[in-house]
């Protein structure tokens, strides 16, 4: 599955300043809940706690949008990833 992942609102600081990552996901990464853990384990070297909580939930204050649609309208972490999805993680916690 080919996807584009965006790290916005300051989250790029957690992934070596990459604002956009185009990647092919492993077969077992089918839903957003898997993707979140995959990002934490594969793209982040430190400060993972600023992305996910201890329960591996996305940190409150970070919005997730799939193709510019709020994931709250897409069943959140149970959303099934589609080919060429553009998935944005947008922090409201950084700066001001």
């Amino acid at each position: 599955m080919n996807v584009t992942i965006e790290f916005l609102g300051g989250l790029d600081a957690l992934v070596e300043k990459q604002k956009e990552v185009k990647t092919t996901l492993p077969k077992e990464i089918t839903h957003l809940k898997h993707l979140i853990i995959w990002i934490k384990e594969n793209l982040m070297k430190s400060r993972q706690e600023e992305f996910v909580t201890n329960e591996l939930q996305i940190r409150p204050g970070i919005m997730v949008l799939v193709n510019e649609i709020d994931w709250a309208l897409l069943d959140e972490e149970n959303y099934e990833i589609q080919q060429n999805d553009r998935i944005a993680f947008l922090s409201s916690l950084h700066g001001g």
């Binding site: 916005l8 510019e68 649609i69 950084h94």
Partner: protein, 317 residues
Amino acid sequence: MSILCENCKTKRAVFLRPKNGSKVCKECFIELFEEEVHETIQKFQMFEPKEKIGIGASGGKDSTALIHVLTKLKEKYKYENDFVLISIDEGIHGYRDDSLETVKRNQLFYNLPLEIVSFKDLFGWSLDDIILNLGPSNSCSYCGILRRQALDLAAQKISVKKLATGHNANDAAETVLLNFLRGDSVRISRSSEFIINDQNDFKRCKPFIYAYQKEIVAYAYFNKLDYFSTECPYAVNALRGKPRIFLNDLERVHPSGIIDIIDSGQLFALPDSSIKPKIQKCQKCGAVSSQNLCQACILLEKLNKSKPKIEIEIEKK
């Protein structure tokens, strides 16, 4: 399966508003958000006709969104106000220099005048120098004290009677909680005011006081605004982080909690019998102060006392 916008009932909903749980399309969200800011400005008479309004511009999401909203509202509702951007350069290497570049890009984009004042020019000390001298443990309070003064001085310099800042509902709720945590009862109701009257001829106002932080970020995202989102390198020491995390958790389970805290702050009035600090003028600089010397002058005195020593040491070499 797509959901229809609850407002226009024609386009696809793309955003669930944290403020009230409504599902709206991009165009309706942008319009509703702007209308609500307009209502706040009108309800509390934040701008008087013909008044020149300063906008505190940091390059961050809140002030960048504020510039965008005010520019649109001015056009739509024919505000009789001119806007001028005011930026403070605290002197934080690798942070403020970059964010000021963002402000300068926005200045050109929105075609607004920009006034930049620096701590170094106003007080003789950059924040980096202050922290080298006094250590990082109180960096945010030093910065806050001087920034307040710097904004007042900048506003005087370009004769602006009112300053609009991008403080949002989450910021106001955070400040109410912080003042509770510090036991600073006098400041509790103050921190949730819409318009703060510092001096007779200068007021601050917060058009975003009822705007949720997430909605401001979503507004900036949907409008593709150019803002700077790196965290200040000194902010790690701030007590503010704890209430911020709490409020984000609270917002998930009880969205109106943010506004409820602000409203509680506003209703929190001290009885007349309590001791309120009397308002007087700083004997040194004339700024409004609750003591003989204002906080900024106390800080600068402390810093300047440490300065001659260093110079003598250099001379000895």
